[in-house]
C-alpha cells in the first residue's frame, strides 16, 4: 500500500513543475466522472419517461384486469398480474425460512471452519447460475422428472433456488448491522444464543431485513427466463384464468411481455408490450418505495430510533 504513495512521490509529473496542467487534468477528470454519473441518471429518467409515454395510453381498467386474448385485439393482463404475485408469494414461502435461517447460522452461529466456507461458496456459486440455466434445471426436475408439466409451483421452486443467495445476503447484512454489545448484554443476562437471536437481534435488524426482502421480491416479480419453461407461457386453462391451483400453468406478466412479442398472434402485440412494460416498471418503483418506507417504520417501532 505504501508503495502506491511512493509512486506518487517519485512520479515525474509531480517532480516537474507544471502545476497548472496537472490542475487542468484534474478538472477534466472530475468533470468526466460527474458526466458519467449524471448520464446514468439521465438514462433512467429517459427509460421511465419513454415507458410512460408509450404505455400510459394502453392502461385501462379492462387492460389491467381483463383476460388475455389469443387472437383478437384488446386482450388484458389481469391473470398475468395475479400469477406474478401468486408465484412471488409461493417463492417467498420457500425462500424466506431457508435463507433467513442460513443467514442467521452464518452470521450468528458459525465460527470459521470448513462447513461455513462450503455454505458460503455454495451460495456464491448459486448466485451466479444464470437464470435460464436455473430454468432448465427446473424443467429437468419438475417438468420432466416429476411430470408436473408447467406449474406455478415448479416455477416458484425454481425461483427459490435462484433467489436463496440474495435473501441470505440480505439477512446477513441486516444482522451484521446490530451492534455486538446487544449480543453481550443479552447473553450476560443468561439468555441462550437462540433466545438472543430471536428476541434481541432479529427485532433490532427487522428494518433493514424487510427493506432487503422487499427489494429482492421486486426482482422475483420481474424474473422471466427461469419461468418460461417451468411455469409456462400461457395462463391457466382451469375454470378461471385466476387460478390458485399451484399445479396449473401460470404465465407471469414478465413472461407475457416476452411471449406476446415472440408469438405476436394478436394485432395489438406492440400495445400490449408497451402496457406490460409500463406495469412492470411501476411495480419495480413501488417495490423500491415500499421497501424504504416500511423498513424505516419498522426500524423506528422496534428500536426507537430513526436510521
Amino acid at each position: 500500500m505504501a508503495q502506491a504513495v511512493a509512486r506518487v512521490a517519485s512520479s515525474d509529473t509531480l517532480a516537474s513543475n507544471n502545476a497548472r496542467s496537472r490542475r487542468i487534468v484534474d478538472r477534466i477528470a472530475t468533470g468526466s466522472l460527474w458526466t458519467a454519473a449524471g448520464s446514468v441518471v439521465a438514462l433512467l429518467v429517459i427509460f421511465i419517461g419513454y415507458l410512460f409515454y408509450k404505455g400510459a395510453s394502453v392502461i385501462s381498467w379492462h387492460f389491467l384486469f381483463g383476460y388475455p386474448s389469443s387472437a383478437n385485439a384488446g386482450g388484458g393482463i389481469g391473470p398475468e398480474i395475479f400469477n406474478s404475485f401468486y408465484i412471488l408469494i409461493l417463492t417467498l414461502v420457500f425462500t424466506l425460512p431457508i435463507a433467513v435461517c442460513a443467514g442467521m447460522y452464518l452470521q450468528e452461529y458459525a465460527g470459521p471452519g470448513r462447513f461455513r466456507d462450503l455454505v458460503q461458496f455454495s451460495a456464491e456459486s448459486l448466485a451466479t447460475v444464470p437464470s435460464i440455466v436455473m430454468g432448465l434445471f427446473g424443467l429437468l426436475i419438475f417438468v420432466q422428472m416429476f411430470h408436473w408439466h408447467f406449474t406455478a409451483l415448479g416455477g416458484a421452486l425454481t425461483l427459490t433456488l435462484l433467489n436463496l443467495p440474495a435473501m441470505m445476503r440480505v439477512t446477513q447484512e441486516a444482522l451484521a448491522g446490530v451492534p455486538g454489545t446487544y449480543r453481550e448484554a443479552s447473553m450476560s443476562l443468561g439468555a441462550t444464543r437462540w433466545q438472543t437471536v430471536v428476541k434481541v437481534i432479529l427485532p433490532s435488524a427487522i428494518g433493514p431485513l424487510i427493506t432487503g426482502v422487499v427489494l429482492v421480491s421486486g426482482r422475483i416479480f420481474g424474473e422471466t427466463a427461469a419461468l418460461i419453461y417451468t411455469a409456462g407461457a400461457s395462463v391457466s386453462f382451469g375454470k378461471s384464468a385466476y387460478d390458485f391451483n399451484p399445479f396449473h400453468t401460470a404465465e407471469t406478466l414478465a413472461v407475457h411481455l416476452y411471449s406476446t412479442h415472440r408469438e405476436a398472434l394478436v394485432p395489438d402485440a406492440d400495445a400490449i408490450g408497451n402496457g406490460s412494460a409500463l406495469v412492470l416498471l411501476v411495480m419495480v418503483l413501488l417495490f423500491n418505495v415500499v421497501a424504504r418506507v416500511v423498513g424505516r417504520q419498522l426500524t423506528i417501532r422496534f428500536t426507537g430510533k430513526a436510521s
Binding site: 487534468v25 454519473a37 446514468v40 462447513f115 432448465l136 434445471f137
Partner: protein, 293 residues
C-alpha cells in the same frame, strides 16, 4: 422450576441449531444437484447421441431438427456481446463507482443511489423491450440495417451490468484506508492523481471482482439479449447483422425440441457450458481475492 426452564432453553437451543444447519446445508445440496443434473443432461449429446464435443464447440453448422449441432456461432455471439459490454460498461461502471466513493457530496449520492437500485430492479425483459423498441430502430436508421444484432445486444448489456460494477467498485474503493488519501494529498497530488495512482491500484483486486461479476451477469443474460439479437443461428460476420447467443438460442429452441432428442440434449449442453463458465468466474474471483490477503 428454574431447572425445568433452563432445560427447555437448552433443548430449544439444540433444536434451533439443527434447523439452522439444515437450512445452510440446503445451499450445498442445491448447487450439487444443479451441477450433477446439468452435467448428466449436458453430456448426453456426447455419450448418448455420439456427437463429438469438437463438433459441438467448433462447428458452425446448427440445425437442431436436421441433426447438426455446431454451437460455435452462439459461443462466439455470447463472447462478443459480453466482451462489448465489459469494454463499455466496465470502465464506465468503475468510473461511477469512483464518483460515488471519492467525489459525490453526500446529498448527491443519497439522491442518486435509489436510481441505481431501480436500474437493478428493472426486469431484463423490460431492458430487452426498451432495446427492441428504441435502440434497434435507432441503430437501424443510423446504419441503414435492420438494427438488430450484436451491437444492440452489447449496448443493452453494457447498461445492465452497470449497477453491479458500480456498487462493487464503490465498495472496493471504500475499503482503501483514508491514510492513503491523506498521504497522497500531503505529497501534493491532485485528487485525480490520488485516484488514478493510489486508490485504483490499491483497490485493483476488488475492482477486478466487480468486472468479473459484470461478466457473469452479461454472459447469462437471456431475454434482454434475445429480444435485440435478431436470432439468426449463423456465424457472426458483422455487429450489425442478426446473430445469436447461447442463452437466446436456448430460449428460442427449447419449446421446439422434443424431450429425449439429441436436439434437446444439445440445448442442455449449452446450458451446462454456461454453468461451467459461471463456476469458472466464481473460482477466478476466489483467486483474485486470495491474492490480496
Amino acid at each position: 422450576m428454574v431447572g425445568v426452564r433452563a432445560n427447555k432453553a437448552h433443548r430449544d437451543e439444540r433444536f434451533a441449531l439443527i434447523v439452522l444447519v439444515t437450512c445452510s446445508g440446503i445451499f450445498v445440496v442445491a448447487i450439487a444437484l444443479i451441477l450433477g443434473f446439468l452435467a448428466f443432461s449436458g453430456t448426453r449429446l456426447f455419450f448418448h447421441d455420439h456427437v463429438s464435443p469438437f463438433e459441438f464447440l467448433f462447428s458452425t453448422n446448427w440445425d437442431g431438427l436436421g441433426g447438426h449441432f455446431g454451437a460455435a456461432p452462439f459461443i462466439v455471439g455470447s463472447l462478443i456481446a459480453t466482451g462489448f459490454a465489459i469494454l463499455v460498461g466496465g470502465p464506465l461502471g468503475v468510473a461511477i463507482g469512483v464518483f460515488f466513493s471519492e467525489l459525490a457530496p453526500k446529498r448527491v449520492a443519497d439522491a442518486m443511489k435509489p436510481a441505481i437500485e431501480v436500474l437493478v430492479g428493472i426486469p431484463s425483459v423490460v431492458y430487452g423491450w426498451l432495446g427492441l423498441t428504441v435502440l434497434v430502430p435507432l441503430i437501424g436508421s443510423i446504419f441503414h440495417t435492420g438494427g438488430d444484432g450484436l451491437l444492440a445486444a452489447g449496448i443493452v448489456l453494457s447498461i445492465m451490468i452497470l449497477p453491479t460494477v458500480i456498487s462493487l467498485s464503490e465498495d472496493a474503493l471504500r475499503v482503501v484506508p483514508d491514510s492513503m488519501r491523506e498521504g497522497s494529498a500531503a505529497l501534493g497530488a491532485t485528487r485525480w492523481e490520488t485516484i488514478s495512482r493510489v486508490l485504483v491500484p490499491s483497490a485493483k483486486s476488488g475492482l477486478a471482482v466487480a468486472v468479473i461479476l459484470g461478466i457473469a451477469r452479461a454472459i447469462g443474460e437471456t431475454l434482454a439479449v434475445q429480444l435485440v439479437l435478431g436470432n439468426a443461428p449463423v456465424f457472426v460476420t458483422s455487429l450489425l447483422r442478426p446473430a445469436s447467443a447461447l442463452t437466446s438460442e436456448i430460449v428460442m429452441d427449447m419449446g421446439d425440441a422434443p424431450d429425449g432428442t439429441a436436439f434437446q440434449h444439445a440445448l442442455f449442453s449449452m446450458a451446462f457450458l454456461l454453468l461451467l463458465i459461471a463456476m469458472g468466474l466464481i473460482l477466478l474471483i476466489r483467486f483474485a481475492l486470495r491474492k490480496r490477503t
